[in-house]
């Protein structure tokens, strides 16, 4: 095979690893075209008498022409000669593609911009591979650009790249190395193809086949098998690539939640986003995103970390943050189905806090926020089951909540240094009289929802630095985004950890199902109380958001009996136009006060995982087990033989064979040499002499004599002597063994027990056999051998 063909194969094989990032297969064909164009041009140019490295210049030009033809043909002169307009057009498409890559989770749709970026990138990689492997003849170095290409999907997608794709890429690189090696060897000297075998009559001509099959096959095999045997590695958060937006690769990409929120609310048509049903038929907010960073203008999200052990298929989700066992909770079991028309949603909407999620595919939970997301799949059309908790803290518990942990406070109390002072003053003013965090939070919510204080309007376009200030101090007009954001900021000002949740309100009940539409898109603050965890608050006046409801723990204490046992079905008829008055907002919370006093269900299983010490201990144990394997094998073999002797007919030849084999192994273990010329009888005499005086146990001479005589008879006579028939000899064997062991030195005894040479010798033989088999890998033939002349 020629080097350029190998270079094309290697680049193409590694390009395949981009499959999890881009939809469809068009991009692959286009990239293949770029690889062919680049390496083909470089190969043709290499035939000219120019310095080899210069052949890359025409190849680069060819790549530009290729991109122009495929993406900016109309603007180009004659369809392929780049002009300023066509170049600008290319830049524009590329910029658009860049935006799309930033804003969509993988796999991104194969838009022209994305394809242009992919093809251009692969073309540059091919250019580098060609330059290094063919022009400069440094094939090994061409692994670096290939590795660079391979790193892209490895860095972006959290899940490991599938092994078939890895094998393809690795084989591509190995083939490139082999072809380069063959070329190098050919340059080194003349291949000798004539072989003269002592056996064969005539000379036998073969092709030079520097294949490196056994090394290549074994290396690729090891590369797949060895990591598979190790516990799966999880990206280390400290070093994880990329945070949030901006170039540098994201752990997961997602559209700006706030932007999509407003987009959904502004949709002219109301579309059903999902339907769900749960065990108690109570509408609950379905959270999608949890925004924890406030930059002064808007709330954004730290990219979630999906560790492999937080796969939802691995079992229960991590325990909810800050929820102590004292708090009463109920179990909610929801079945949710996302509408197929929903696109680019790689987070699963669900009530907070979830404890278990059952969904097809690789969905992972972020340990802190319990957002469930996937880097590979979309939620559109997905049906899944969520088991969650209905947390019912009492007011006393909330009032008694302690300080949050420093780590949590650092993350959820952070505020931009340039936060307007008037907002801080306002926050204190509104909550001035309250003592506890909980009471302050309730006061804050009441201030937002108090009729007349604020006006709900979707028309607000607040994204400037003053937006928050405008909303709180002056305009007091906004929609859920402003309300949620403002309350979260003010809660942080008051020292209550807060974040903004984006998702849907509970929707409307319709024919046994809750239906959630685009109009139910919502944002709300979640505040943290040590012991109760994250609790939802609702500052948005329900005049605006029809299905919004204030949670029970924020409402004034109910002194009477059950006041509202409103059925869920009645809520189903609710629609935004028929929104109840703020005063009746209490009724909208479908929480039975009695439920607060119901006994807690089964305690939540908490997955602690294995600590570092446990892993270390397991490692030590595993090493010890491996070291003791030969000893174990020997023990097992002895037990097996003993059982066989018992089962075999006493005095039968088979039994004698077994006994003799065991004796031989015992001698090997103790390092007692056996002479080839020694008869069984003389061996027995020698062993008996060896034991004399040194062995405190019973004198083994008689036992040895019996065994030797049996073996002698087996060898030289048709039948055993009369006094031996009917004897099993296993007792004799044991006598001999213990006598020999007692007579042996301490070191020999230790070796015989823990590293028995008889087993080790067999292991060595097996190892040699394995190596021979490895050598035979070389003779694997992909094609049938040619007929020999």
């Amino acid at each position: 095979m020629k080097l350029p063909i190998a270079a094309v194969l290697a680049t193409t094989a590694v390009t395949l690893s981009l499959y999890p990032l881009i939809d469809g297969a068009d991009w692959f064909l286009a990239a293949l075209g770029a690889v062919l164009v680049v390496i083909g041009t470089a190969t043709l140019a290499g035939r000219l008498s120019i310095p080899p490295a210069l052949a890359s210049v025409p190849a680069a030009i060819a790549l530009l022409l290729y991109l122009t033809v495929t993406h900016a043909g109309e603007e180009a002169w004659g369809g392929f000669v780049p002009t300023t307009t066509s170049l600008l057009r290319l830049a524009e498409i590329a910029a658009k593609g860049f935006d799309e890559i930033q804003n969509y989770p993988a796999p991104v749709p194969a838009s022209p911009g994305v394809i242009l970026l992919t093809v251009g990138g692969v073309g540059v990689i091919a250019l580098l591979v060609d330059l290094l492997a063919i022009r400069l003849r440094r094939a090994a170095l061409s692994g670096l650009p290939l590795l660079g290409l391979f790193t892209v999907p490895a860095a972006i997608s959290t899940a490991p790249i599938g092994w078939p794709v890895f094998i393809l890429g690795a084989v591509g690189y190995v083939v490139l190395l082999v072809v380069d090696g063959r070329e190098r060897v050919r340059r080194w000297g003349k291949p000798v193809l004539l072989r003269r075998n002592p056996g064969s009559a005539g000379p036998d001509v073969t092709r030079l086949a520097v294949t490196g099959k056994r090394i290549g096959v074994a290396a690729v095999g090891l590369a797949v098998v060895v990591p598979a045997m190790l516990p799966s590695l999880t990206p280390n958060p400290i070093f994880a690539f990329g945070v949030g937006e901006g170039p540098g690769g994201n752990t997961v990409t997602f559209p700006n939640p706030i932007a999509s929120l407003r987009g959904n609310l502004n949709l002219p048509v109301e579309l059903t986003v999902m339907t769900y049903q749960n065990n108690d038929s109570i509408a609950r907010y379905l959270r999608i995103y949890s925004l924890d960073v406030f930059d002064g203008t808007q709330w954004t999200m730290t990219p979630p970390q999906g560790r492999a052990e937080d796969r939802i298929s691995e079992g229960p989700l991590p325990p909810p943050e800050g929820l102590s066992p004292d708090v009463q909770r109920g179990r909610i079991d929801s079945r949710i189905r996302i509408d197929e028309r929903v696109k680019q949603l790689s987070f699963l909407p669900m009530p907070y806090p979830p404890t278990e999620v059952e969904a097809d595919g690789d969905w992972r939970a972020d340990a802190g926020t319990l957002m469930v997301f996937s880097t590979q799949q979309e939620a559109g059309g997905l049906g899944y089951r969520v088991v969650g908790l209905d947390v019912r803290p009492t007011r006393e518990q909330l009032r008694a909540a302690g300080r949050p942990s420093p780590a949590l406070a650092e993350r959820y109390l952070a505020l931009p240094p340039d936060l307007p002072a008037d907002i801080q003053e306002k926050a204190r003013e509104v909550t001035g009289a309250e003592r506890t965090a909980y009471d302050k939070a309730v006061a804050l919510q009441n201030w937002f929802t108090k009729p007349g204080n604020f006006t709900y309007s979707l028309a607000t376009q607040g994204q400037s630095g003053q937006a928050l200030s405008d909303f709180v101090m002056r305009g007091r007009t906004g929609y859920c985004e402003q309300f949620a954001g403002a309350m979260a900021v003010m809660a942080r000002v008051l020292g209550i950890p807060a974040r903004v949740a984006v998702g849907y309100t509970g929707g409307s009940f319709n024919q046994g199902n809750f239906a959630v539409s685009t109009r139910d898109t919502h944002a709300w603050p979640e505040l943290y109380f040590e012991g109760a965890g994250w609790l939802r608050f609702e500052p948005t006046p329900s005049t605006g958001q029809g299905t919004a409801s204030t949670p029970g723990y924020t409402r004034p204490e109910v002194t009477g009996g059950p006041t509202n046992n409103q059925s869920a079905s009645s809520q189903g008829s609710t629609d935004p136009s028929a929104a109840p008055t703020p005063g009746s907002a209490d009724n909208r919370e479908n929480r039975d006060p009695d439920a607060l006093n119901r006994p807690v269900g089964a305690p939540v299983a908490v997955d602690e995982g294995l600590g570092a010490w446990a892993w270390a201990g397991a490692g030590v144990l595993a090493t010890a087990a491996v070291l003791l394997l030969p000893a174990g094998a020997r023990v097992a073999q002895r037990a097996l033989r003993r059982r066989r002797v018992r089962r075999q007919a006493p005095g039968s030849p088979a039994m004698v064979v077994t006994v003799w084999a065991e004796l031989s192994d015992t001698l090997t273990d103790l390092g007692i040499p056996r002479l080839g010329s020694e008869s069984p009888r003389s061996l027995a005499r020698r062993l008996a002499e060896r034991c004399t005086g040194r062995s405190p146990a019973a004198d083994p001479a008689e036992a040895l004599e019996r065994i030797a005589r049996a073996q002698e008879r087996l060898r030289y006579a048709p039948s055993l002597p009369a006094d031996l028939t009917g004897q099993r000899l296993d007792a004799d064997l044991r006598t001999v063994r213990s006598a020999l062991l007692a007579a042996a030195g301490r070191a020999e005894r230790f070796r015989a027990r823990f590293a028995p040479p008889s087993v080790l010798r067999r292991l060595r033989r097996a190892g040699t056999g394995l190596l021979d088999a490895f050598d035979r890998l070389e003779s694997i033939r992909l094609r049938p051998r040619r007929a020999e002349q």
Binding site: A140, G143, L147, F150, P153, A154, A155, P160, I161, W163, F166, A170, V174, L177, V178, D180, G181, R182, R184, V185, R186, W188, G189, K190, P191, V192, L194, R195, R196, N197, P198, L208, A209, V210, T211, G212, R214, I215, G216, A218, A219, V220, L222, A223, V224, V226, P227, L230, S232, L233, T234, P235, N236, F239, A240, L771, D772, D775, E778, S779
Partner: protein, 417 residues
């Protein structure tokens, strides 16, 4: 294992380093994909090392030269036979025979996998335009892997030598009168002298036949003595070659010295074929050559001869004189000074036939046109001087074949009045 580690090429070491770094990064960053790449990159050199280490002691090698002596410019065929003596196939073998650069480029061959108990024969040819004895080998075998990650160099110890002899031209038969007029005694007398103590034994020299040891004289002298009467049986002659640097001109293969060596070789072989017992003398004295296969030993000697730095011809002249009993002196001479000519001319006396192969030295020298005349005259004068002393003169110019000039020996020299 340490040997195998040292066998790693730069590429192999880079792979090992890159693989280790990738492994470390994979664990620190927790990237599963990187782990696979690390294992792949680490496994390649390690497996290659294992393969190479196992191939190490599996070869036997033999070299055959055919012929082992060649004339200048002739080819010799070298056959290498490599045998895999184990029951497993070898890996990739890069074979290089170490030969002096005078014999051409080092022959390099690639053997891909010699099967179990298999053998390969490699044939290459060597030729040289320079006389000498050349050492072929030792053969070095690089056991390599197809990826160029490991290369283990192993050299066999056996070497062979190739002798490149001066060119020998066949000389036309020309009667050298006095060829048989040497001082050899009659056979009958020689035989009868077996019991005679005055047999004039000489000391034993290497190459003498042990059967000719004269034990009685040995006992008397205390060292091994041989009878010399049998030497006298045949006609004897002396071959003289002036190897002094100062009397020769020209460079390398086209120098007058090479022509002189070739002429001496041709004449020596010619005379030895005729059965003449030949003594070989240079300006540095007499050189003993074993008498069996005289022609071969002379050629072997001439293959290795180098120009001497000596200034005077005295030792050569006295060696010629000492020998005595020569019926024929053939001298290959460069440009001699007048004194040397006179001394040399005097060597011929009585019935001795003297043949001087006189190199026409100016034709080898790149002289200024004005200097050509006097130089040619000097050669003419030398020829005249020798001829005057009764020498037969064969003049040899650059580019002229000795076989063309040789017939001139048939003419008797005349004493010029």
């Amino acid at each position: 294992m340490r040997g195998a580690l040292a066998a790693l090429t730069t590429r192999g070491r880079s792979f090992l380093a890159a693989g280790s770094a990738a492994l470390l990064c994979a664990f620190v960053l927790g990237e599963h994909d990187l782990l696979r790449i690390a294992v792949l990159i680490l496994a390649l050199p390690l497996l290659a090392m294992m393969v190479v280490a196992r191939t190490r002691y599996r070869l036997s090698c033999a070299r055959r030269l055919d012929p082992a002596r060649v004339e200048i410019g002739a080819e010799s065929q070298v056959t290498l036979r490599l045998e895999n003596v184990t029951r497993l196939p070898t890996g990739l073998l890069l074979i290089e025979d170490q030969i002096p650069f005078a014999l051409g480029n080092r022959p390099r061959f690639v053997l891909d996998r010699v099967e179990a108990r298999g053998a390969r024969e490699i044939v290459y040819r060597v030729r040289s335009d320079l006389r000498g004895r050349y050492q072929l080998g030792p053969l070095s075998v690089r056991i390599a892997d197809p990826f160029g990650l490991v290369e283990l160099v192993r050299a066999f110890t056996i070497t062979d030598s190739l002798t490149v002899m001066p060119r020998v031209v066949a000389l036309p038969p020309a009667r050298l009168s006095g060829e048989w007029t040497g001082g050899g005694e009659s056979r009958t007398r020689a035989v009868s002298s077996a019991g005679d103590d005055d047999v004039a034994p000489r000391e034993y020299r290497q190459g003498d036949d042990l059967r000719r040891v004269h034990w009685r004289s040995t006992a008397r002298h205390g060292e091994l003595m041989v009878r010399r009467e049998e030497q006298q049986r045949q006609s004897r002659g002396a071959l003289f070659l002036d190897t002094r640097r100062q009397v020769h001109g020209g460079e390398g293969a086209g120098s007058s010295f090479e022509t002189a060596v070739s002429a001496a070789a041709s004449i020596g072989v010619h005379l030895a074929k005729d059965g003449l017992g030949l003594r070989y003398v240079t300006d540095e004295g007499s050189v003993h050559l074993p008498e069996q296969s005289l022609a071969w030993s002379l050629l072997d000697h001439l293959a290795l001869i180098r120009q001497s730095g000596g200034r005077s011809l005295d030792r050569g002249v006295s060696a010629l004189k000492e020998g005595g009993g020569d019926g024929l002196i053939v001298a290959v001479l460069g440009s001699l000074s007048d004194d040397e000519l006179t001394a040399f001319a005097r060597l011929r006396h009585g019935g001795i036939t003297g043949v001087a192969v006189l190199l026409d030295l100016p034709t080898w020298l790149d002289l200024h046109p004005s200097a050509v005349g006097p130089a040619a005259q000097a050669v003419d004068r030398a020829a005249e001087t020798l001829r005057g002393a009764g020498w037969r003169i064969v003049r040899l110019a650059a580019g002229q074949s000795l076989s063309d000039a040789w017939p001139a020996v048939a003419q008797h020299g005349r004493i010029v009045a």
